[in-house]
């Protein structure tokens, strides 16, 4: 029985350990239709583990996961394109798995490639012939091609440069608004979270506890740079985010 009638995805009291070491306990999440939830937290606090559990890639040791949707897609930190398939076949991979006919999935792949800013001639290239940014665009196109109801993003744009990151974030925001999918968006970057999400969940490094949850004012896509900057600036002085920025400093040091 689904605890929340309208929710697309519910994680209830989920806990997980790797090799006997507990990463987090008692994690709850309710993902509503059309809602983008950002999950931020310092490195190693269990964000990827939560995402893998939510996406069904890892079985949680404790707690339950309820899903109420037809299909989902995952955008990983690395592009994870199949090196032996052309860009077209990579974008169409999810469609092929679900048994879509070749001509139809090629048409969809071409349309999605155009949307994420790939050129038509890139479609016949293999992943090694694409730049890092183009590969990540292809990975986003592959996820959107299956018309998912829920999309899981695991720090998808950490490896791309700042300019392209903005472009890809805007692309995700536009796609979410158009296709009305729900999303769980894992990130390190508070500004990214504030840009793309409706709601923010902050995890602690020490025990993977949820230290804070807050609604971000306004709809994603309507906040301008100034507003995002102001929110990040005011939040970064708060104690709950101190850990996040400490960890960032540790990483860059």
């Amino acid at each position: 029985m689904m605890p929340h009638e309208k929710a697309k995805l519910v994680l209830q009291d989920v806990g997980h350990s790797w090799l006997g070491r507990t990463v987090f306990e008692g994690f709850d999440l309710v993902l509503r239709p059309g809602e983008v939830v950002a999950l931020v937290g310092p490195s190693g606090c269990g964000k990827t583990t939560i995402l893998q559990i939510a996406a069904g890639l890892v079985e949680p040791l404790r707690g339950r996961v309820y899903r109420n949707y037809r299909r989902h897609a995952v955008v990983f930190q690395e592009p994870r394109l199949l090196p032996w398939l052309t860009t077209r076949d990579n974008i169409a991979y999810g469609l092929k798995v679900s048994g879509c006919a070749a001509s139809r999935r090629h048409a969809i792949a071409a349309a999605r490639a155009l949307e994420v800013g790939l050129d038509p001639e890139d479609l016949t290239k293999y992943p090694v012939e694409l730049s890092g940014g183009m590969r990540q665009r292809a990975a986003v196109a592959r996820a959107l091609a299956v018309e998912p109801d829920v999309v899981f993003f695991d720090e998808p744009f950490t490896a791309v440069d700042v300019g392209l990151r903005r472009v890809l974030q805007d692309l995700v925001i536009a796609a979410a608004a158009r296709a009305h999918f729900s999303a769980l968006f894992v990130t390190h970057d508070l500004a990214e979270a504030v840009r793309v999400a409706h709601r923010l969940i902050v995890l602690s490094a020490i025990d993977g506890r949820v230290v804070d949850q807050r609604i971000i004012a306004g709809e994603p896509g309507t906040r301008d740079n100034r507003a995002i900057f102001d929110i990040v600036e005011s939040w970064s002085h708060e104690a709950v985010f101190a850990e996040l920025f400490d960890a960032d400093r540790r990483v860059s040091a």
């Binding site: 029985m1 689904m2 009638e5 893998q52 996406a55 069904g56 890639l57 309820y66 899903r67 109420n68 949707y69 037809r70 299909r71 989902h72 897609a73 995952v74 990983f76 690395e78 994870r80 199949l82 090196p83 032996w84 398939l85 991979y93 999810g94 469609l95 092929k96 798995v97 679900s98 048994g99 879509c100 006919a101 070749a102 001509s103 139809r104 999935r105 969809i108 016949t124 290239k125 293999y126 090694v128 012939e129 299956v146 018309e147 829920v150 899981f152």
Partner: protein, 295 residues
């Protein structure tokens, strides 16, 4: 409200590919295939040039040591052409070919299957590895002796020797290929709800093939050699039997002719069969090379 996994539920409705589109794509495939064939023949010339260099060295050796030690290439070819007229070549060659190919198929099949299972299952690997090491440790000549005792002077001895001597190569290749598969790509495929079979076909197999082709190439090469050796020692006909006869008659050009025939078979099976298949399945690899994928 239902609890459902994302992999179930309706997909994008499948539509039938339209006929003109299918015709056009078939035409494109035909052009691609013709282009690829042309390139393959062309690269064959380069290989032929290498073989002719070898023939020149052979000729030089003949001129130094004389006909009795090393007959001239042309003389050998003439003997070979003479053999083509008679019935014994077809009989011997088909016997040897049948044994070598049976041995190859069994060795590659058993080795690949066992290796893949071992690659997936740690327990299976722990059990099979030492067995394979022991089998690999027995010299092929010892297998021939044992097979002779078990099978007598029949083709079975040659086939068994080929299988035992060369299945460990495919085993090791398949084991390595499956064990080094990219789990991140596998997780990606799982995230789209791909079944185990689909994941094997689309994620593991293309990677595995790059380990299998070198193993299979080595196996087919040694299959010919071991078959002839087993035939010669077990006196069970085939090219090995003909070699034994020619040696007994001290007919050196005839010996050379049979040797050339075996080498030709090995070359054909590698460059005529295995390599074209490999090129077709691994076209994507050349995309990473400096000159790019040939389109």
């Amino acid at each position: 409200m239902t609890v459902s996994s994302p992999s179930e539920g309706g997909g994008v409705p499948a539509s039938r590919p339209d006929a003109p589109g299918r015709l056009a794509s078939a035409g494109r495939m035909l052009v691609d295939a013709a282009e690829w064939f042309g390139r393959y023949i062309w690269s064959g010339w380069v290989g032929l040039a290498g073989l002719l260099c070898l023939a020149a060295a052979w000729q030089a050796g003949h001129e130094i040591y004389g006909s009795f030690i090393l007959p001239a290439p042309l003389e050998t070819i003439q003997v070979l052409l003479g053999l083509l007229q008679g019935p014994e070549l077809a009989r011997a060659a088909s016997e040897t070919a049948w044994r070598a190919l049976t041995g190859f198929l069994l060795a590659a099949g058993i080795g690949t299957l066992a290796g893949a299972i071992a690659g997936y299952s740690f327990a299976a690997m722990r059990i099979m590895r030492p067995i394979v090491t022991v089998i690999l440790g027995v010299p092929p000549i010892a297998w021939i002796v044992l097979a002779l005792i078990w099978f007598g002077s029949s083709g079975g001895a040659a086939v068994l020797t080929v299988v035992l001597a060369s299945f460990p190569i495919s085993f090791a290749g398949a084991l390595e290929g499956v064990a080094t598969r990219d789990r991140a790509l596998d997780a990606m495929a799982r995230s789209f709800g791909a079944s185990a079979l689909t994941r094997f076909r689309s994620v593991t197999l293309p990677h595995l093939l790059s380990y299998l082709f070198p193993a299979w190439t080595t196996t087919i090469g040694s299959a010919w050699k071991v078959t002839v050796m087993a035939e010669l020692l077990s006196n069970s006909g085939g090219i090995g039997g003909e070699l034994a006869t020619a040696r007994a008659l001290f007919d050196i050009p005839l010996v050379m002719a049979w040797i050339v025939l075996v080498v030709a078979f090995a070359l054909i099976s590698e460059y005529g069969v295995l390599n074209p298949i490999r090129e077709m399945t691994e076209r994507w690899r050349s995309a990473g090379l400096p000159w790019g994928v040939k389109r």
